[in-house]
Amino acid sequence: MNFRRFFLIATPYAWLLALFLVPFLIVFKISLSDYAISIPPYTPVLDPSAGWEGFKTFLSELDFENFVFLTEDALYWKAYLSSLQIAAIATFITLLVGYPIAYGMAQASDEWRPTLMMLVILPFWTSFLIRVYSWIGILSNEGFLNQFLLWTGIIDTPLAIMNTNTAVYIGIVYTYLPFMVLPIYSALEKLDGSLIEAAEDLGCSRASAFWLVTFPLSKPGVIAGCFLVFIPALGEFVIPSILGGSSTLMIGKVLFEEFFSNRDWPVASAVAVVLLLILIVPIILFQRNEQKQREAGL
């Protein structure tokens, strides 16, 4: 075993260990602790000076009662379900919006593609927070959208979009659209144009050639895009707290409130651990999709 190879493999593992596993273990440990009015706001705290006996008492004081609590209060599982639902619907809408954009980009002539790509990436040049805030100016009762619709006479009372789930959907779709467009575009861009011609030659109409050839071949991109939107959307906090209303129930918001409003770190940690467990399922599926694609040599 040569040193260079070891070093090459060790670096990402050390990174994961220090920045993912260790913080996760700390959060997991807090989730097993009890709430306390102290600094830090939980007990027990491991005291290395107490030695082996101290460690044993420390372990004996850890328990799963916070997780049990999560199942008892309907707020939590409702928040999880509601988050799953909002993330799933938002992902689907993003797909509906993103696919035509990616398709259009892939069909564009070579000279236009870099410009179109730039336009998709351009929003990242501004702060995410500012972009979400600016939607208030568009969606609120006195916002541009309502003013425009009132001016055209389509509506006579302002639409209440702000502080509803609709606003949250708009925010998520807008924010995560590039994550959907780019993987689909990269799948469509690789597509050999003669495949479509071959499908037409063998009797397909334009539409059926799309559904039988283009879409199945862009599926890896669609799956990748959906995961890239779904996973962060599930734990999203900023968008529902800025654009959503009091009825918008999302686990990110609950998590925030437990940590900062209630200062109940152990329960908040338990919420975070469960969220992670929920996310592991799609993440593993995503990894498998990527691997399958590599194996297929596509």
Binding site: S194, E197, A199, D201, V213
Partner: protein, 379 residues
């Protein structure tokens, strides 16, 4: 295509009663200012194996894409079986195409690739399976039916593409550089396989190729194209033996071309004076050429004999010095420099072992050919 002696010669183009399957009538295709096809008129007959041959950019691919329906003529008409093809989209044409890149659907198995067109046709479901099996047998891929295209070799992929394009039994099969991606040995085997399949299925094949050897091997007729025009449409042997222009003579095979001025010497014979100090060349042509007409005399290297002594019985004999010898195994090409600096190539079959070769570098030799061996060309 070589025909056995006991069968009538396949030559529908010589039969005025025969109705062509495809007719191009004054077809022009422009891309912007660029003229890809220039006022082309051409008939292709049923069961023909028709080769479109030419350098890249000569318009042969455009011609094929117009037959498939991916391009429409700017002016003129294309008829298939007497019906105008204008405004008939590719999916409604009774033509199928085998693509240069094969264009196999990577997400479908070999079986599903072949069945793809059949499933889109009015064929009843229970007939699709047997038809696919039949196609798999035809291209000898029964064992690979469940594989995906990336799990088989290039030669196998080529055969899947062929089976897929033949599955719907099209009136016309278009092959766009079908063998371009195969190595030479496999290509030669596949050429014979293609001819075999063409004969078995009785389909009309139109093949696009830039490989003149391939066109000569497979085709019943070859069309040599240049700059969107048909230069010559003829059987392979006539293209080779009696090219109608310097372009065709030069494009097909190896040739010596000598520029000179012709003077009739009776009996279809012409005396071509071509260089100071060199004896004039005696050539034959049926075309009537006036005195002092500038002509090109084209002669194939294999029709030039090489000898140590001046042969008495041949109409033409030129003396020179062996400048170079290219040994190709079965044949050797001698490059002989004449006294005035002209290079003439002569090809000799190596029927003896190399060590017993009669001539070597710098030998003075005589090149000779009969008065009918070459062709006299005006253009």
């Amino acid at each position: 295509m070589a025909q056995p002696a006991n069968r009538p010669v396949f030559a529908p183009w010589n039969d005025p009663e025969e109705k062509p399957l495809i007719q191009f009538k004054g077809v022009t295709k422009k891309f912007g200012e660029f003229i890809a096809i220039d006022n082309l008129t051409l008939d292709i007959f049923r069961r023909e194996f028709f080769a479109l041959l030419g350098p890249s950019g000569c318009g042969k691919t455009t011609l094929m894409r117009m037959l498939a329906g991916f391009e429409n003529p700017t002016t003129g008409q294309i008829l298939l079986d007497g019906k105008d093809l204008a405004n008939v989209p590719p999916n409604k044409r009774e033509t199928n195409m085998m693509f240069q890149s094969y264009a196999l659907f990577p997400h479908l198995s070999v079986w599903d690739n072949i069945a793809f067109g059949l499933k889109r046709s009015p064929m009843p479901k229970e007939q699709i399976g047997p038809r696919v099996e039949e196609m798999l047998r035809l291209v000898r891929l029964e064992k690979f039916a469940r594989r995906k295209p990336h799990q088989i070799s290039g030669g196998q992929r080529q055969r899947v593409a062929l089976a897929r394009s033949l599955a719907k039994a099209p009136k016309l099969l278009l092959l766009d550089e079908p063998l371009g991606a195969l190595d030479k040995k496999l290509r030669q085997d596949t050429q014979f396989e293609l001819m075999d399949i063409q004969e078995k299925t009785g389909t009309t094949f139109v093949i696009v190729t830039h490989d003149q050897e391939e066109a000569m091997t497979v085709a019943s007729r070859v069309a040599v194209m240049d700059h969107g025009r048909m230069i010559q449409v003829d059987t392979p042997d006539r293209i080779y033996e009696t090219p109608n222009s310097v372009y065709v003579a030069d494009f097909i095979g190896d040739v010596n071309i000598i520029k000179g001025t012709a003077a009739p010497s009776g009996d279809n014979k012409y005396t071509i004076s071509w260089a100071e100090g060199q004896p004039p060349i005696i050539g034959t042509t049926a075309a009537a050429i006036g005195k002092d007409t500038p002509v090109h005399f084209a002669i194939r290297p294999e029709k030039v004999a090489i000898s140590a002594e001046k042969p008495a019985d041949r109409a033409n004999a030129l003396q020179g010095r062996i400048e170079d010898i290219a040994y190709l195994g079965n044949i050797s090409t001698y490059k002989v420099e004449l006294a005035n600096g002209t290079m003439i190539k002569a090809q000799v079959a190596n029927d003896r072992r190399l060590a017993r070769r009669t001539f070597t570098w710098d030998d003075t030799v005589w090149l000779s050919f009969t008065d009918t061996a070459g062709v006299v060309l005006l253009t």
